[in-house]
C-alpha cells in the first residue's frame, strides 16, 4: 500500500515536471549528429543553438501578443533513414513539438516526411534537395533549391565555362540525393550537347573507388562529376589523382563543408561545385550571421548551417504571422511566405514546399571556398 502511494506521488511529480513546463514553443530538430556526415550534424546543431540564443535573448517568439521562449529538441538521426523515422516519431508523439527542422540528407528527410505529413506537423528540411522530399505533401517544406535546378546549373557550367565535351559521373547509388542529381546531370549534359562517357556507382561506406576510377580513366572524360558528400569526395579526388587522371572535377552542394579541404588538401584545388550561398556575397543578413557564427564557434559557416538558420527563422516568422501555435495555421503562414530575407538569399514559396531561389558556383582556391558565379 505504502509503496504504491510513493509510486503515485513520484509519478505525479514526473507528470508535473514534464507537463507543467509546457509553456513555450518546442521545435524538434532531426540532424546527423553521428554517422558518416557527422560534421554536418555539428553545423546544424551550431546554427540551431545560435538561433535559440538570439530568439530567447529577445524574450522569445511573439505569438498572439505574448512572448514565448523557444526550446529546440535536437535528436540524432545518424544519417540513417530508419533512425530518422524513429526520431520523427519521437519528436511528434513524445515531445509534442510544434514543428520539425530536418533532416539534412534527402534519404533521411524522405523517411521523416510521410510521418510529419500524416501527423500534420510542419517540417522544413534545410538541405534536402531531392524532389521527392516535398512531392505531394502539404506540410513538408525545404529551405533550399531542388536537384533538377542544381543539376542543370552544374551541367551548364561544365559545358559552358569548363568547355567540357565529355563527362563521367561517379555516385553513391544507395543515397537518394546522389542518385537523383547524377541522373539529372546525365540528361542535362547530354541535352546541352555533351557526351557522357562513364556512369559509375558505389555504395555508402565504400572507401576504395580505384576500380571505378580506373574504368573512368580509360574513357578519358574532360570532367568528372562527383555528386557526393564531403566525406567521400576527397577520397575520390585523391584516388583519381593517384591514378594519374588529369580531368577536371566538379560537384554539387554535398561538398560544402570544411572537412572537404581538411581531408582533400591540395588535391581539391581548382575544383568547382554548386552551392546554396557563398560567404563572399554581399548581403547584410548573411554578413551578420557569418560574423556571429564565426565569433561563437570559431569556424566557417557552411551551407547546411546557413540553411538551418534560415529554416529556423522561416518557421519563427510563420508562427508569428499565424498568431497561434496551431499546426495548420503555421503551415498556411509558411506556405504564404513572400520575399523572406534569409542568409542564403530571398525566399518565396509559390504553392509548393519548394522555394524559388538561385544557386552559386564555388571554386576551391588556396584551401578556401571562393565565389565564382551566380546561377538563377
Amino acid at each position: 500500500m505504502k509503496k504504491s502511494v510513493w509510486l503515485l506521488s513520484a509519478l505525479s511529480v514526473l507528470v508535473c515536471l514534464t507537463g507543467c513546463q509546457d509553456k513555450g514553443v518546442k521545435i524538434g530538430v532531426s540532424a546527423p549528429i553521428s554517422g558518416d556526415i557527422a560534421a554536418l550534424g555539428q553545423s546544424t546543431k551550431n546554427a540551431v543553438l545560435l538561433a535559440q540564443e538570439e530568439i530567447n535573448a529577445k524574450g522569445g517568439i511573439t505569438i498572439g501578443g505574448t512572448k514565448q521562449k523557444v526550446t529546440f529538441i535536437i535528436e540524432d538521426d545518424e544519417n540513417k533513414p530508419e533512425a530518422a523515422a524513429t526520431v520523427f516519431q519521437k519528436l511528434i508523439n513524445q515531445d509534442k513539438v510544434a514543428a520539425i527542422i530536418g533532416s539534412q540528407s534527402s534519404k533521411c528527410s524522405n523517411a521523416g516526411a510521410p510521418i510529419a505529413e500524416a501527423a500534420g506537423i510542419p517540417q522544413i528540411s534545410p538541405w534536402s534537395t531531392n524532389p521527392n522530399v516535398t512531392k505531394d505533401k502539404r506540410f513538408v517544406f525545404r529551405a533550399c533549391f531542388i536537384d533538377p535546378f542544381q543539376g542543370k546549373a552544374v551541367a551548364g557550367f561544365a559545358r559552358g565555362k569548363m568547355k567540357a565535351g565529355t563527362a563521367a559521373v561517379l555516385y553513391d547509388v544507395a543515397s537518394d540525393y546522389n542518385k537523383g542529381i547524377a541522373e539529372v546531370f546525365r540528361n542535362e549534359f547530354t541535352k546541352a550537347g555533351g557526351k557522357i562517357v562513364g556512369f559509375e556507382t558505389y555504395n555508402t561506406n565504400d572507401k576504395d573507388f580505384s576500380a571505378q576510377l580506373s574504368k573512368i580513366k580509360g574513357a578519358a572524360p574532360d570532367v568528372l562529376f562527383l555528386p557526393n558528400y564531403f566525406n567521400d569526395v576527397p577520397l575520390q579526388v585523391q584516388q583519381a589523382r593517384k591514378l594519374g587522371m588529369t580531368c577536371k572535377f566538379i560537384g554539387s552542394d554535398g561538398w560544402d563543408n570544411q572537412e572537404l579541404i581538411k581531408m582533400g588538401g591540395k588535391d581539391m584545388e581548382g575544383t568547382y561545385f554548386s552551392n546554396h550561398y557563398s560567404p563572399d556575397v554581399d548581403r547584410p543578413a548573411s554578413k551578420k550571421f557569418i560574423a556571429s557564427y564565426a565569433k561563437k564557434y570559431n569556424t566557417q559557416v557552411d551551407a547546411a548551417a546557413a540553411l538551418t538558420y534560415d529554416s529556423v527563422y522561416l518557421l519563427v516568422n510563420a508562427m508569428e504571422k499565424a498568431g497561434k501555435l496551431d499546426s495548420k495555421a503555421i503551415r498556411d503562414a509558411l506556405a504564404g511566405t513572400k520575399n523572406f530575407d534569409g542568409v542564403t538569399g530571398v525566399i518565396t514559396y509559390n504553392g509548393s514546399g519548394d522555394p524559388i531561389k538561385g544557386a552559386v558556383m564555388i571554386r576551391v582556391e588556396n584551401g578556401k571556398f571562393v565565389f565564382d558565379s551566380a546561377v538563377n
Binding site: I33, D36, A39, N203, S210, A211, Q212, L235, L243, M263
Partner: protein, 294 residues
Amino acid sequence: MLATAIQQLLNAAQLGAVYALIALGYTMVYGTIRLINFAHGDIFMLGGFIGFLLVAIIPGLPVAAMIPLAMLLTAMIGVLIERVAYRKLRNAQRMSLVITALGVGIFLENLVRILVGPQARQIPAQLPNKVLRLANGVVITEDKLLVILISLSLMVILWIFVNKTLLGTAMRAVADNRDAVQLMGVNLNLIIATTFAVGSALAAAGGIFFGQAYSIDPYMGIDLGWKAFIAAVIGGIGSIEGAVIGSFLLAGVEVLTVAYLSSNLKNGIAFGLLIILLLIRPNGIMGRAALKKV
C-alpha cells in the same frame, strides 16, 4: 585496354592485401577456439585509430616505428578482449560467444566514436607516395606497392611462425584437438592469447594501411569485417593459406566486376559467385571436411 586491365589487377591486389590481413585473424581465432570473432572488424578499425592517435600524439614518429607500435598496442587490446569477454564463455554455448563478440564490436565502435569523434579521418601520409609510371600508362603509387609488399611479408612471417615454431605447432595442435592438447600439459590460455595477439596485430597493420590509403571512421570495421570474414570462409575458415587465397579472390572478383560489367553489380556478382563456390566446396577452397568421430 591491356593497361586498364593491369591497373585493375593492381587495384585488386591492394584491396586483397587489406582483406587478407583481417581474414587471417578470423581464420586463426576460428581455428583455435571455433569462435567467429565478429568483433574482429572493429579491432581492425581500432588498429587504424591507434595508428592515427600515435601520429597525432608523437609528431614526427617515423612510420617504421608507428606500425609495429600500433600492432603491439592492438595485440594487447586483443588479448585483453579475449581475457575479459571470451575466456569465461569458452565452454558455454556457441551462441553466447557469438553474441558476446557482436557486443564487443558495438562497444568498440561506440568507444572510439566517443573518444575520437565520428568524423572520417586520414592517417597523415607517411609512407612514400610518389606516383610511379609503369609502361603503357599504368601507374602505381609507392605506398600502394609498399602495402602489398608489407602485407605479403607479414603473411609469410605468419606462415613460418605457425608452421615452424614450437608455439605455432602448439596452435595447430589446439586447432586439431583442444582437450587432448591440454592433457599433454600445454598451456591452453597462453596459446589462445597468442592467437588473439597475432590476429589483432595483423588487423592493426591492415587498419593503418587502410587509413593511409583511404580513411578511417568508427564504423569502417563493419563492412570490411564482413567481407574479410566471407573471404576467410571462401578460403576455408581455419586455414591460413585459405584466408589469403580467399581474400585475393574476393577482391579480384569485386574489381573485375566493376571493370568489365557494372559497378552496380559489384556486391551482387561477387557474392553470387561465392555462394556457388560454397555449394561446390562447402568447406572452402583450402578447407577440409571435419572428421566424424564414431
